[in-house]
Structure formats: structure tokens, C-alpha cells
Subunit: 238 residues, 2 copies
């Protein structure tokens, strides 16, 4: 059920999507024999990698680093829609739509692998294994969105933040070995606030309350979970 085979386009990374996208390992990726329908692109922390409504002919997979998709509102607020982790398609929607309805920004320094949409669509039509992988990506996106909607609609500040951490923990654990319940989570409190619909001030209060309760510690980009069962009790829906 979990996707996790090695990603041929991004050395030392695993991905459920990336591998299927290319089909076979690229033997000599260093030379410029590399086909023009695939190319790499880097971005620094904070840099915008995709702009709402701006046409983009490529479909991107994140090779390393973290990014996020978001909506910027006219009143200055922004909603983070989800976080993109290594191996993830930035958005499955970009396979079908030229103009994204969202923006995306690098959270850390990132490396992206971009594929020409026309080529991806051809493979989508031809290769059943590829279609299945893409379908799975869509299904995951929709399932995650449904849970997220529920968290925002029905849960308190504590619960939303606990939910976000649990969600990220699961995704990180699917990619990396986690030791001692320490997770590298390169977010500022502002990002948490923008994701779960709270102010940074309130996020700060909730986090220090969690710390005082011996639940978690979050600073310097490291999430250290001291009481997993209790965090799950608070953050688990249904």
C-alpha cells in the first residue's frame, strides 16, 4: 500500500512517483545526452517555484528539500494547502492543467526534476503502470485534503497542531529512518499558523503549553516527540 521504491532520477532518494515517471534508470545523467523533456532546477529557501495562474510547461517532482503549496489572499493572509516532501509530485493537477490555481514556495533549498507536460501526458495515455501511479497520487491528495478539511472545520487549536505534526511524522517516517522520535521539520511557527489557520502568536502559546506538558519540543527545525500516545490521542480524527 505504501509507495517507496528508489527514485531513479534523484540519487539517494525514494519516491513512489518519480521512478514510475521515467520507467528506466538514466544511465549517464551527467552528460548532456539527457533528453530535453526532463531537466533539473534548483531553488533557494523562500523562493517561489510556481506562481498562481502563470503557465508552466513542466510537471515537477521534488528531489530534495521541502516546499509547500499555498494561496495568497488579498488581505495579506495566506493558506498553506500542503507541504511537499522529497519524492512528491508538487501537485498531480499540474499533469493536466497548464496554469496552476495555486502558488508554491521552497521552504528549504530544493532541487526539482521537471518533465515536459506533453511527454507526461503521452506516458499517461500509454503506460498503464504509470497511470496507476498517477491515480494513486491523486487519491492520496484527495484523502489528505478530506482529513485536512475535517481538522480545520471541527478541531481546536491544540488538535489541529497535533494533527499536523502527526501527519508530517508519518510522511517523514515513510522516507527516512527516524531515531529517538526526532524529526527534521523545517518550519517556522508562521508556517504552522498559515497551515492550520491560526495566528503565529497562538501557535507559540500552544507549542509552549505542549512543551510544559512534556508532549513535544519543537525548535531549531527539530520536532522531538516525547509522548507519542498522548499526541495521537489529541491529534487523531474520528
Amino acid at each position: 500500500m505504501k509507495s517507496g521504491w528508489p527514485c531513479v532520477t534523484c540519487p539517494n532518494r525514494t519516491s513512489g512517483f518519480c521512478g514510475a515517471l521515467l520507467g528506466k534508470p538514466v544511465e549517464d545523467a551527467s552528460s548532456d545526452e539527457q533528453p530535453n523533456w526532463q531537466h533539473y532546477r534548483g531553488a533557494r529557501a523562500g523562493e517561489q517555484v510556481m506562481v498562481r495562474n502563470q503557465p508552466c510547461e513542466r510537471v515537477f517532482v521534488l528531489c530534495n528539500g521541502w516546499a509547500f503549496r499555498f494561496f495568497q489572499l488579498s488581505n495579506g493572509r495566506r493558506q498553506i494547502l500542503n507541504f511537499v516532501l522529497p519524492g512528491d509530485l508538487v501537485s498531480a493537477v499540474t499533469v493536466f492543467e497548464e496554469r496552476p490555481h495555486f502558488s508554491a514556495q521552497a521552504l528549504t533549498e530544493v532541487r526539482l526534476s521537471g518533465f515536459l507536460r506533453s511527454e507526461v501526458q503521452t506516458r499517461f495515455a500509454m503506460n498503464p503502470g504509470f497511470s496507476a501511479t498517477l491515480a494513486k497520487s491523486c487519491v492520496n491528495t484527495i484523502n489528505d485534503a478530506d482529513e485536512f478539511i475535517t481538522a480545520l472545520g471541527q478541531r481546536s487549536a491544540d488538535e489541529r497542531i497535533a494533527y499536523l505534526f502527526l501527519h508530517l511524522m508519518r510522511r517523514i517516517a515513510a522516507r527516512n529512518v527516524v531515531r529517538d522520535q526526532r524529526y527534521r521539520v523545517p518550519l517556522r511557527q508562521q508556517h504552522i499558523a498559515d497551515a492550520v489557520g491560526l495566528t503565529p502568536v497562538h501557535v507559540s502559546r500552544v507549542l509552549s503549553q505542549f512543551r510544559d506538558r512534556g508532549l513535544i519540543e519543537f525548535s531549531g527545525g527539530i520536532l522531538h516527540v516525547r509522548d507519542v500516545p498522548e499526541l495521537e490521542r489529541i491529534g487523531t480524527l474520528n
Copy 2:
């Protein structure tokens, strides 16, 4: 961009999905020559038509009436994830997953058209036009979810309710002729509350405030919009 061709499986209805699903009109749908991979099913208002985690071998398209997908929480609350209108696939996810992660309930009396998943998947693999239609359905679902997340995360009670009405108005207008800005919206205030994450009491207050302002009137399942521009000013994101 809009999907709206006549739906061959459900007489007197239009749908972007239903028609493509079957490919050709069923000549004699009344006889029992009807293939067993497609059958109809009815449900009364309030009846549960899909239960979370319960395996279901068919993929359903709503022929008429309204339904909604939701999560039931252990604390008694529920989050309505979205409303299903005639012609909609109840959820694109059901094409790929046997056990839905959500439940679904009829809002009015409904009629559903169910297709064997195995058959749908075969067509998905074979027919490019069908894959494209399904992909479009996924894309719409994801785009709607992103907007909905933003509404829940960043907007006030007034704005969320205005947003919901605008969203429903657009979807209704894509299916039916609307006269005099009157829309048939078969929701109770409780449903609105469960969708936008408010209490029914507060929904009532917001609605009567809207009424006093001459914005909209909503009762008896009819939404009458008296000031469209103002409603859009309040409910439009970004």
C-alpha cells in the same frame, strides 16, 4: 471547459462523467438485458448510501437528487466534505479504492447509477477519453478542496457561508437554468453548519443578518439572492 453533455444513463439529466463512462447510449434500458456491470439504486432522504471503510464493489454516479460526503467524528460532530449534485461521481476515489475513507448520505430522495469497479478500471486502462474525463473529475475535486481549505482556514463565519452559497450557485447554474436568482438548495442550517465548521445557532444568526442586510433569503430549501455583487464581495477568496 465546462462539462455538460447529456447523460445517457440517466434520462433527462446532464453530466460530464456519466456519459463518458458508458460510451454509448443503452438502447433498451428497461429490459433485463441490461448488463450486470451497471445497475440503479435509489435511496430516501437521510439514508446512508456509503459507509466509511465498508467495502463496496461499485462506483456510483448520482442521477438525481442531492447527497453529501462526510466524516463522522467520535465526539458527535461531523464534517461535510462536499455536496454531490446530479451527474457527479460520488467520489473519484472510489474508482481506485474499494473501501471509502468517508461516508455518504442522501440529502433528498436520490437515484444512483452503479458501475462495477472492475469494469470501470478496465475502461480506465483502455479508453483514453474516459481516462481524461476521470482525470478532470480528480482535478476538479482537488481544486475545490484547495479552495475549501482556504475558506475554512482563513475566513470568518460570514465569508464562509457566502463562499458556500456562491460555490453551490455556480454548480447549480452549470446544470439548470436559473431564473430570478432563485436556487433550489435542499439544505437545513445544520448541513451548512457541518460543512463550514460552525454551530447551527451561529449559522442562523449569520443568515438572519444577511436577510436584514437585503443580501439573501434562505428558507424552505430555496436560496434567493437579492444582491449578487455584494455576496461575491464577501464570499470570494483572494
